[in-house]
Subunit: 199 residues, 2 copies
C-alpha cells in the first residue's frame, strides 16, 4: 500500500516519532491515522502518554477584554520551557483560547470538572424530552449519551468546537500544538467575567 | 396563583421563550423560577441556555498583565450609569486597582470574605506571640485586635494601603471617587493568577 508523504508528515507532527516509525505504523494499519497513533503508543514509540506526565510549569498568563469592557477573560496555559512560552505558536494558541472563552462561554475546563449533580440534572431533562418526543424506551439511553456528549461540547472548553474553525475541537487544536512544538501543553485554568452577571 | 409580570419578563429574557409559555410554566411550578426553566426545557421549548442573569449594573471589566505574562489580574467594578463607567475618573480608579491587586496580592475583597477559620488561626498565632513576648494577660485582647486589623490590611483589598500613596487605603480611594462622581461604586470581584502557583 502506498502511504502519502503528507500523512507520514502529519503523523510525525502529531506523535513526535521518527519518519520510518510513522511510515511503518501507517503501512501496518493500512493508512488508518488514528490506529497508527495507537500502534505507535502501544509500541512505546509515541511520547503522548509520557509527555502528559511531565510537569509544565512555564507558560503564559493572558487576558482578553471584549465588547467595551463588558466581558473579560483571564487564562493560564503551561508548557515546559521558557523557550516555548515565548514562541509565536504558543502565544497565538493562548490568544485564540482567550477569544474562545470570551465568545463561547465555557463553564468548565474539561468534562471531569462538571459536577455529577449537573450531569444528573441534564440526563433527567434529556430523558423527559425524549419521552415527550415519543422516542421508544429502548432508544432513550443512546439518546441520553448522544445529548450528554453534545452538552460537554457546549460547556467544556476542551470539548468545544474552535470558534475560528468549527471542524476542530479545542482538544484537536491542543494536540496539534503539542505535536508541533514537541512539548506538553496544559490549559491550567481560566476565569471569565461578564459585567453584572450573578457569580 | 398570581405570577408577577416582572418574573415572567425575567424568564423570557433568560430562556428566550414566548410570554404565554413563560407564564404557563411559572403557573405550573408555583412560581419557582429554576423549575420553570427546567419545565420549558423538558417540553422542548427552551434550549439549554447559559445566558447570564439579567442585570441593572453598569461598570467595567478590566485586566492587567504584569511581569512578562507571569501575573494576571481580572477585575469587575460596578457603578450605576454607563456615563460614569466611561469617565476618566472611573477608568483610572479601575486601572489603579488592577495594579494594586497585581502588586499587593490581596487574598480577599473585603474583611467579611475572610473565613472564620482563617481569623481563628491568626488569633491563635497572635495570642501565642504576645505571650512569648511577655505581654501581660490583660493586654492580650487589645494586642489581638490590633494585629487582626493589621492582618486585614494585608489580605483584604479594600483595607490595603494604596500602592501609589501608602497614606490612603483602597477604601479611602473608593470614598474619594464616590464623593467626586456622586454615584455608588462597588468593587465587585477580582481574580489574580500567578504563573505556576497552586490554586
Amino acid at each position: 500500500m502506498e502511504i502519502a508523504s503528507e500523512t507520514v508528515k502529519d503523523l510525525r507532527e502529531k506523535t513526535g516519532c521518527g519518519m520510518m516509525d510513522c511510515k511503518k505504523a501507517l503501512a501496518e494499519t493500512n493508512g488508518d491515522f488514528e490506529k497508527a497513533i495507537d500502534l505507535l503508543r502501544k509500541k512505546g514509540i509515541a511520547a503522548a502518554s509520557r509527555r502528559a506526565d511531565r510537569t509544565a510549569s512555564e507558560g503564559l498568563i493572558e487576558s482578553y477584554i471584549h465588547l467595551g469592557n463588558k466581558i473579560g477573560v483571564l487564562l493560564e496555559v503551561n508548557c515546559e520551557t521558557d523557550f516555548v512560552s515565548r514562541s509565536d505558536d504558543f502565544k497565538s494558541f493562548v490568544k485564540d483560547l482567550c477569544m474562545q472563552i470570551a465568545a463561547a462561554n465555557p463553564l468548565y475546563l474539561k468534562r471531569e470538572d462538571v459536577p455529577d449533580a449537573a450531569i444528573e440534572h441534564e440526563k433527567e431533562i434529556i430523558s423527559t424530552q425524549a419521552k415527550n418526543e415519543g422516542k421508544p424506551p429502548a432508544a432513550i439511553e443512546k439518546i441520553i449519551n448522544g445529548r450528554i456528549e453534545k452538552y460537554y461540547s457546549e460547556v467544556c472548553l476542551i470539548d468545544q468546537p474552535f470558534i475560528r474553525d468549527q471542524k476542530k475541537t479545542i482538544k484537536d487544536l491542543l494536540g496539534e500544538l503539542t505535536a508541533k512544538i514537541g512539548e506538553n501543553v496544559v490549559v491550567r485554568r481560566f476565569t471569565r467575567y461578564q459585567l453584572g452577571e450573578k457569580s
